[in-house]
Symmetry: C2
Amino acid sequence: MNIPMRTYLVTQGDRSRGRGTGSIVRAAIEGGVDIVQMREKHTSARERYELGKELRALTREADIPFVVNDRVDIAAAVDADGVHLGDDDLPVSVARDHLGEEAIIGRSVSTPEAASEAERAGADYLGVGAVFATDTKDVNEGEAEIGTETIAEIAETVDIPIVGIGGINADNATEVVNAGAAGVAVVTTITDADDPAAATQQLRQAVENGRTTV
Amino acid sequence: MNIPMRTYLVTQGDRSRGRGTGSIVRAAIEGGVDIVQMREKHTSARERYELGKELRALTREADIPFVVNDRVDIAAAVDADGVHLGDDDLPVSVARDHLGEEAIIGRSVSTPEAASEAERAGADYLGVGAVFATDTKDVNEGEAEIGTETIAEIAETVDIPIVGIGGINADNATEVVNAGAAGVAVVTTITDADDPAAATQQLRQAVENGRTTV
Ligand code: NI
């Protein structure tokens, strides 16, 4: 499966300066984002279902993949392309059984061991972080900074693509890709930007300046 | 669909005095519980998936229905009989599409209007509350006490069975059933009891003392 993910947006409505997540996603698409994940940790399932339908329509129109964090049922209900799962979520194998072979299933990991395990379990790609220390809640608070060395280690360990996440912006994205990541995932670098479209474009340029593996 | 629900247990591990939810469910089955819902609001999806498999095995052995709160995907993954949904969860119609005609789909409501709407949407039964004021977290904090009058009103309004929830115990369960409920749903009356099996049996007796509609 060749999933485009040089620039990967993870949504977070309450980090979007009151702008709707739909408008952030529109702007990111305008700026050339490759893939969108709806996260929205602090909203109800019902709200995520409604937002998911909107984001599915926008991403379908733009012909880019759309995945849902955690909830396999919401992903199925809004006809998303797949899910992104963490340690606390359903196992990759359960999501695969539920969504089928064609679904995109991503998994968050931070060690080579967890990366190998997720690959064996059938993950299509890995989100790896937190790459850099962050106060922007891209990742869970208190999550350790793993650095680009671990990106390199994990990229060596698995055959599936990995995206770095955590504290990544246009200034350091090239470094992440040069370490072996297929791309970079961001929350606030886009959602909290003055101009989310321009921020996406700058991030994309920084990734393209690196040695992309896609 | 004839769903047995004179005594309906809603699990809550952190209101079970440190006893595992599996052991509470075993005791409730021993005491004659009719149906079990796994709620467990404060645990991760992964934990609910693991617990759900355990509760599914126990309820299957006892040949009683097992439903999962909120998460349609976890319900499907553990082969539960259905789901119980509230205002914040996926719509009944989405759960029905996902789980199929045979699934048991319950819906929480507190007004006759919401009850009618849920029935039209295809709910198989309704959880109605909070019947009595409660400090036991059977229902959401701050939820209004609706009393047995509303139970009677809703029982008049819909053709699907309803269970009362909120502050119900062996002392007042008969009154709830006499108002028109098919049964009573409880959390702590069983989970926090000295003897959960005996508590279930007493609750069951109180329901049978009333005019059951099942
Ligand atoms: Ni399904």
